[in-house]
Symmetry: C2
Subunit: 283 residues, 2 copies
Amino acid sequence: MFDCIIIGTGPAGISAALTLKARGRNFLLIGSASLSGKINAAEEVNNYPGLPAVGGAQLKEAFINHLEQSDISVTPGQVTGVYDMGGYFGVLCGDNSYESKTVILATGVEAVKPVPGESEFLGRGVSYCATCDGLLYKGKKIVVVCTSAAMEEEAEYLSSLAAEVVFVPLYKGARLKGENVRYLVDMPRAIVGDTRVRKVVFSKGEEECDGVFMLKSALAPSALVAGLNAEGGHVVVDRACRTNIAGLFAAGDCTGRPYQYAKAVGEGNVAAHSVCDYLAAKK
Amino acid sequence: MFDCIIIGTGPAGISAALTLKARGRNFLLIGSASLSGKINAAEEVNNYPGLPAVGGAQLKEAFINHLEQSDISVTPGQVTGVYDMGGYFGVLCGDNSYESKTVILATGVEAVKPVPGESEFLGRGVSYCATCDGLLYKGKKIVVVCTSAAMEEEAEYLSSLAAEVVFVPLYKGARLKGENVRYLVDMPRAIVGDTRVRKVVFSKGEEECDGVFMLKSALAPSALVAGLNAEGGHVVVDRACRTNIAGLFAAGDCTGRPYQYAKAVGEGNVAAHSVCDYLAAKK
């Protein structure tokens, strides 16, 4: 049983991890080992105090270096569900499941809005997780919408299973290859079906399919945790970064604007302190 | 008329300044040119992301360097009053007064609690500002309570005016000298008087006097701004760092725990964004 599981390796997750480490807590930091794709993408950041005119790649290097020096390792993976077990949480991540007394959501915000039908057909043809649901589509036809290069590995795994993959990259420089892979450069507009998904509607046409994988680097927090209070796509938190669920905290872009390194780092710190306060009060 | 006046040069004030600069705003950053004394005092900070195992002096240097590179200069001085003029603010700082559409309080927290009687006799024998009130005590006997070496210059100025100075340093290594200066190493317990201050009570005795100067590097925000909503010595703010007074924001230690660099930097960023939102909405 962990004291805390931090979901997300952007500035908020890293900040929370450094503070929990300083406080001697037993925690997991789950996310991309190459940290947040968005950090890397930043051209120049001028308002992160102490690191003037720093490029995204430099900032990422500074963060990775800091984690290494602090002896914190990232558990690579994508969390697909957080379950409130009454007093502790179950956290699903690929084939693994973990138990933790508290959870900090630091999942960022997904630049891509959900497609109409996406939430409706979740679990009935729509999936966020290649590892979890890939085998269900062995020999079938699937549409794979991929929002970042970091998720291509999952798409590749899917292409090794499915008979036919319609691959929809929402970024430049996609590299996925395969005889059964057909590229479609278009925006998905709706997911349509009856008891299950039947097709995906695009701006210029549609594709019938057995299933749709939406491979996103950040999941909507409300899709991760049942009963979580959210507003306009953001987790509702108080000034101590507490959500409406006891023991569940949130920090960084997922709690709302401004989408800024400094703000995310600050909230990660606050959330980690709130975790410590929560654990101390439960004793 | 400034867009914003930031009061305080700790991590919160610096973070706010960097963001207002990035947003092209016209602002003043008022505080100690040598930045926060507390930054310097930190032995080692391990949880400010991007700068691993950094000492206070290094962090201060990084902040000063960042301000310089961003072409931001500190206006040295101590603000002694913020006045809501209905639509804009008047800010008193030594002999100067400034006007600004908004104000960010980033005044930190004073480690020293107010002494009983301190607020009661403010303006009736108790003063926070040597420059403002020193002349009133020419040729008189005063008690000067000084919480940090950074404030000694003000004490020196007072000793050039008063006939007799009882100097009470609440730190080690005080250097103030003068024939009319008598050191008293004790904690002030109460300020007592009738229509005006008459004496200061210490743990081991008392001193009659005409006035008391409380030279603190951080003033209680509620002493700075009339009508400001505070609780337990902290300014009450919402998640956007807004106080109960329109156009007045607060960030950093003065808004409450955790007293951490990362948290302060995050709130400075948020407050600066809220200033921009406020100015945009007023247009």
